[in-house]
Amino acid sequence: MINLELPPKLEAARQGSRGLAEQLFRPISRKYDKQEHDYPEELRVLGGPRKAKTAEQIKEEQALRELAKAQEAKDEGKVKNGNNVQGIVSVTEMCRGDVGLMLSVPGVGLGNAAISAVATPEQKARFGHCYASMAITEPSTGSDSANISTTAVLDGDEWVINGEKIFITAGERCDHVVVWATLDKSMGKAAIKSFVVPRDAPGCELVGLEDKLGLRASDTATIRFDNCRVPKDNILGSPEVDAKKGFGGVMQTFDNTRPTVAAMALGVARASLDLTTEILKKEGVKADYAKDMWHSSAIEAELYRMEAEWDAARLLTMKAAFMSDNKEPNSMEASMCKAKAGRMGNYVTLRCVELCQAMGYSETELLEKWARDSKILDIFEGTQQIQLLIVARRLLGLSSAQLK
């Protein structure tokens, strides 16, 4: 039954995230844009270091999971709006507040997404409470995430990791890092595995933090692994190198993280559009859909265009999440929404600055900051170009050797 409205049950989640965004994030947005590299202390109320779970807690959670499973079986065949759809709604609202601060909420890292996607129940119990960042990119690899040089070698009961990783969001603030490393570079993608490394493990060293165009409230770290040892069962997924299954294991987290990044772009663009509309309204611009576009003013027409682009990007993102919630393969749709939302976010935030002229360009408003924040959302978790590559390959049935 086609319905593209939010279900009432998600309305509460939306309002909650909106409250957080408006009351906690927005007031300190400018402050931590200015104070790059300082941790936003105000966010500590949201988490603080979590303790490892007790055996009893783990038992309780297990029971809850069983219950959920039973419900799921009962709902077999019914359509679901689950974690993914809810995540899109929440992330969009939080990023309407501030995307950098959202990424600085303690305990919520991109590594956590990887852990919950591929960890065993035992690993979930061990690492579920972590604040885990994600370390993929290396100085000489950008979009080419298959071509990594960081190595992991099994030595007795431990993996020994060596290499350098850049662009690690929350790499300074996290307590664990999920690291991509190869077991054997000659075996290509299939040999790439991910490992959970405690940030305080010997040989895991913070090299530095990046100064950035935007997203300054969030730290972006370089970490070097120098004979860094972790227990044998800190590997996520199987240690076997299965050339047939290939890259799938580590890559599948993208199906969830790409819609999430799309949601970030939606949030930032929404912030820009709402403020711009408000500012312009005070100066007499009414974009009230009363006249067709070519009978409107240039500025109204542009507001309509931006709203349409925004809504299209939002619906594509909701679709990708909806498919994920309903166990449909969504790799192509995840890339589609990321591509669309990434470019939309960039276009909308830059245009809003232009439309508000001096008020848009000045630090008196946050419009200029959003136009800086938005740019990375068309880049990280796969650039616009990488998303198009993935969409095209799936659409046309081409391999990565055919369509490079």
């Binding site: 039954m1 086609i2 319905n3 593209l4 409205e5 939010l6 279900p7 009432p8 049950k9 998600l10 019914k78 359509v79 679901k80 709006n81 759809v85 859909y289 009363a290 006249k291 067709d292 576009m293 070519w294 009978h295 309509y304 265009r305 709203e307 349409a308 682009e309 809504d311 299209a312 990007a313 619906l315 594509l316 909701m318 679709k319 909806f322 589609m336 591509a339 669309k340 170009q385 198009l388 590559l389 969409v391 095209a392 390959r393 659409l395 046309l396 049935g397 081409l398 055919q402 369509l403 490079k404």
Partner: protein, 368 residues
Amino acid sequence: MSEQQEPLFDLTLTEDQQLMRETVSRFATSEMREKSRAADEAGEAPEGFYERALELGFNMVQIPEDLGGMGAERSPISNMLLAEDLAVGDMSLAIGALSALSFVNTVLDQGSEAQKKKWLPRFAEEDVHQATIAMMEPQARFDSTDLKTTAKKDGDGYVIDGVKAMVPVAASSEVMLVVATLDGEPAAFFVEAGASGLAIEKQDHMGLRPLELCTVKLEGVKVGADAKLGEKLDLVRMLDLGKIGISALAVGTCQAVLDYVKEYCNERVAFGEPITYRQSVAFMIADIAIELEGMRLLTYRAAARAEQGLDFHEHAYRAHLQAAEKGMKIGTDGVQLLGGHGFIREHMVELWYRNLRAIGILSGCVTV
């Protein structure tokens, strides 16, 4: 079910909708796409096309049972899907096939009981009865909020003057709804074929050639007191239901483009490899898929809101805006992807290019 599930964000079709789509898609392939080129060259629908389209039965579904129909609830979603699926076959023929339904929809939506009784039964019959809506006007700056066609009180009835443009299948319509200004407010009037002062002339256009678009001149056309649709025309609602319909046509046509270029470009070899091995080609196709899906979802959302009785004005506006802009981009990229071959009337892409240019122009002709 014991527990009523609360409404969810949901992209799945009902079983009825799925069955309908399958039927319509088969029809769109065999009766439309395969005859599309010949119809375009001939400038008319294939012999017997409207008869066969009528057999799909969609005209009568929502007509009340006591008027001979099936009495199903008004469903903008089903109407929208119908427009999308028919347009995959051929956009011109889709508009022609949906012209009577658009008339029916509008009468159901805004007509009085007496008007429903008078006008609807014939569309539940087994013979073809054509009808149309005359909304657009020939001036370059046509503005639906400022119609140049006027109606004046004239004794018990009304007298209508003006010129309407791009009226689908006007020459073969038994009745048309003419939208005009009455005392400064918009109103719609039933004008029957052959009315005195009514002149209908076929006019060729860039595309939509089998549709037989007409210019309709009304010089002192008199209609009765019962010819004014309903009490007070909600023109915005009528136009918005039209925007959904027209956006759905764009979605269907763009889907046809996507399917065609995927196959063509994968097969076409240049520089020793299929041209899809080149990023500029592959990314253009990926963008077609992305923008198409975006406009489809915007259209679905507007239709679903209309069906649920929610306000859908902004939503229809945005859907149509994207359909016009992205639809035309997809139309031109479709030709570009075939290179010189795209310019030849041997391939379908040039026809879609011409038809898609109409999306940003059409107003009110296919209402859901």
